[in-house]
Every structure is written in C-alpha cells, then in structure tokens.
Amino acid sequence: MTDITPEQTQPAKPARPRGRLTRWWDSDVAWSFRHSPVAIVATFVVAVMSLAALLAPWIAPYHPFDPATLNLLDGFTPPMQENQFTGNVFWLGTDDQGRDIFSAILYGSRISLFVGISAVLFAMTLGVTLGLIAGYVGGWIDTLIMRVADVQLSFPSILIALLVFGIARGFIPPAYRADMAIWVLIVSIGLSDWVQYARTVRGATLVERSKDYVQAARLIGVPSGLIMLRHVLPNVLGPVLVIATIGLALAIITEATLSFLGVGVPPTQPSLGTLIRIGQGFLFSGEWWIILFPSIALLALALAVNLLGDWMRDALNPKLR
C-alpha cells in the first residue's frame, strides 16, 4: 500500500537497500495482481481498448462520420463479405449509411471513454472535496452536505442525470444544444454520482480525524487545511480509487443508456450507446451485426473495468487478506 504513495516532499534521496520498483513488485497488492488471471486479463482489455480509442484517428480504416468518404452503396454489408455493388470487404460489416462498424466502434469508444473518464473525474473532485470538508469540519456544514447527499442518494443516478440533462436543455438555446451536449452529459453524469465519493470520504475522514496522528498534527499547530491535504487525504484515497474504478464502469453504462434513450451525445458524434440505438432499428430485418459488435464492445469495456474494480476492492481490503 505504501508503495503507491505519491512522492513525499523529501530533500535528498538516500541510497535505499532495495529499489522502489523491486519493493513495489514485492508488495502484497502487486503480488495479488500477478496471481489473479482475471485482473491481468481485465487490465489487458482495458489497456487495449483505451489505446485503440485514443489512436482511433490513426488506426481506424475509415472515417465513418465524414460524409465525404461514405458510399451509400456500401450499406448493409455483412461482416467479412464482399459488398455486392462495390466489392469492398469490412471486418465487422457496415450500417445503413455504409459506415464501417469497426471504425465506428473505435470512434464510439473514444467518445464513451472520454465522457466516462471526465464524468468520474468531475464526480470524484466534487465528492472528495465535499466529503473531506464535511468529515473534517463537521457541524452544520457537515449536516447540510450530508442531508443533500441523502436526498440525492434516494434517487437513482440515471434519474438525476436525466433530470440535470433535461434542465440544462431547457436553459441552453436550441442552436447550441448539439455543441454543448457532451459537456452537459459529463456534468449530468458527474452530478449524479458525487454522493458515493462524498459519503465514503466523509466516513473515512471521520475515522482518520479521530486518530492520534491528526491530533499530533493539530498539537503542532498545523492549520486545518494543511492537515486535510497532507494527513487525511492520502489516507482516504484507497477506497476512492476503488469507487472511481467501479464508477467508471457505471459512468460508461450511464452514458450509453442516455445516448440509447436519445438524450445523450448528438448523432454527429455517436458513442457506443448511440451505435446500439442505431442498430436496434435493424434487429428485426436481420442485420444483426450493426447492433451486435458495438454491444460486445460496450460489454467488454464495462465488464473489464468492473472486474478490475472488484479485484482492487478485495486486494485493498485488509480484512479479507
């Protein structure tokens, strides 16, 4: 655990008996990782999918959302088969517009991951800050923050996200809605999910605050803000990491759901959810590949992130060791 601590402020680095890397390799968490095939496979899947999404403009064979490159005659080509008009072959087939599904998935996961990660960062920053303040300062500030959190917690996050999204749409003039959609989506999902972080961090902060090392820092005269940052925060980050990982899977799913419901990203920048929404229309006419491959991509991504979070929770939980 200590080995993943951020750099300490330390004037001169002395020669250590063992290198940082060796000690990290030997730590319990690293050991548990090496002995968990599930965690290794999950990490691999997440890494490959993130890399593919990141590099989509360079590795995708087609530009599926550039109308100039599309040929309607390529439409409805099944996977790995020659198109009857153009003779083109697409690994995973094409949709009604002749878009290459594989390229669409690469670009789609790019949007999904971007929205998911941004929403998690937003929720985490908000939740950790509020949780830390509520737990450390206490009093009426604590009561206020936690009451709001309690009320929000009694509503499922998807509903909150829908609501924030609806309200934001009401405020933004129709002309800007498409441009702002991604940011509105990120804020909606982020606002729907901060409570988890706040509650966890508040609980952990209450425990840490009562510990004697915080009392020792107070006795020295270290100001509260610095105690929160230097002493409490590093000690409550473990559980936050776990929630953030599971939260990422949830955010990706929420984004996909919203896009599937037609209230998410605009059709010009389709995410995996949008692709599935498009594909659903062709399910009854037998073009199964249009919906199947984006669904598999979404499931693989969410499952891999969830598996990683699940492993992390067990590995970081001292009670289960």
Binding site: F155, G170, A256, Q280
Partner: protein
Amino acid sequence: MLTFIVQRLFQAVLVMLVVALVAFSLFRFVGDPVATMLGQEATVADREALRDRLGLNDPIAAQFGRFVVNAAQGEFGISYRLQQPVLELILERLPATLELAFVSGVLAFVFGVVLGIYTALRRDGVLSNIIMTTSLIGVSLPTFLIGVLLIWVFAVELQWLPSFGRGEVVDIGGWKTGFLTVNGLQSLILPAITLGLYQMTLIMRLVRAEMLEVLRTDYIKFARARGLTDRAINFGHALKNTLVPVITITGLQLGSIIAFAIITETVFQWPGVGFLFINSIQFVDVPVMAAYLIFIALVFVTINLIVDILYFVVDPRLRVERSTGGG
C-alpha cells in the same frame, strides 16, 4: 416509537418540499411558459395579461405556495406536448408501470436474497464462483442491452414472446391490468426480466457482502465455540443480523426499479409513466417532468418511511431504551 415516526414523517415532508421546490423552479425558470403558451406572435399586452392571469407577477413565495397546494391536489397543469391534463396522462399510464415494477421487484428480491445467502455460505464453491462471475456480467450489462438481447433471442429469433407493448389489458374500475390475459402475461415476461435482472445482481452482491461481514464477527465465533450447528449459526444468528442493513438498501433498490423502468419501458415501448417522461425530456415538456419528479419522490419517501419502520421492528437496539445495569 411514536416520536420516531413523527420525526421521520416530518423529514419526509421536508424532502417533498425540497423536491417541490426543484419542480417549481423547473416551471418558473426553464423556458418561458408565456411564450410556450401564446407563441411568438402575441403582443406585449397579451403577454402581460397572461402573466397576470397565471400569477407570474406575484411574489415568488406566493407562487411556490400556490404550486405546492396545487401539487398536493394533483394539479400540474396541461402538457405542452400532448395538450392534456398531466394528472390524467400519468394516471392513465400508472398501472402499466406499477405492474411491471411489482413483478420485477419480487423477482429481484427473492432471487437476489436467496443467491446472496448461498454464495456467502458456500464462499469457495464452484457454483458460487460461477454465480459471482455471472453477476458481474449482470452489473456490467446496461439494462437496455439486456432488453435488446432478450428481444433478439426470444422475439426475433425464437418468436416465443412479444417484443413490445402490454398486449391485451382488462379494465377493472379504471385500472387496466395485463395480469388477466395470456397475451398480457406473455408481454410482461421480457420487460420484467430486463428490469429485475440488474436489481437482482445488486441485491445478491449486497446480501453476500453483508453476510460475509457478519460471519466474521466475534459473536459468530463465540457461537461456534459453544458448539452450535452450522445451521443454527448461519440461519439463526448470521442471517438475522445480515437482514438489518440489507433491508435499507434493498428497499431503496426496489424503489429505484420504478425509475429504471424508464429504460425498460423505452426498449419495449411499454406504455408506462417512464416512457412518458423520456418523451417529455426530449420536448422539454416541463409540466410532465415536474409531475413525474414529484411522483418519483413520493414513491421514494414512502419506501424510506416503510424501511425506517421495519428497521425499528427488527433491531432491538433501536426499540428498547438503553438501561444501565451496574457493572
């Protein structure tokens, strides 16, 4: 006991007022109701007259007061999109949503609790591991994808079950039920599984985690040291203690089924309240959004209240006043 319930009721009313405030703000600040109702061509005088008639020139507090009184009577105005009274729209669709939520809730609760207990007790069993891994897939599968998958397999490929709508319904005193026709029941199967599956996996994982936590406690070790049988320990001691926290979270999960119904109803074009809500968001149909919000809040507050009372019944530490028995 009475003070406790009164206190909780007071909190519930407070939450409802906060939600009403949000709903009211929707009305007041999202879009311009006057413009929506009169269109772009109206004169300034017409607008002013309507503002006056709608009471939009009154103090905000008075407007909010009026909104609360109206809401309490079910008066939410007229849908911008459908030009029908909102209450009528909601009441018409409510039976569809409630029947769907009820069936999925029962499915999720029964299977969730049973599987959760099983996987906790046979922690290292093969079947437990299979169930746990499958449950993670369940958590990772978005509800809409489960729905689409089921439609594909059972409606498109196998053609066993219908893929959309409620089928035939029977009208009993204004309540249209799908429980009484074969077609209605068939139509219910896929949506109910779709909606219940995700909740079931959550409840199952929760029950398992709580049960494992309880099995590690000292009083379970002491019970084992007294020679009690596994059966007595697992079901007499561990299960009861597990249920205390599980009640709260399960209650909330069951509540969220009604909210998650939005997705299922969209996938299956189920004529319920959620389907109505999703359409109202796309059209910024504020009266319907506000009414739905208050309806959901009411459901949650009621469930919370029931959960609190159940908690009180189950846990003697809350029920009995602490007495000091000398050391």
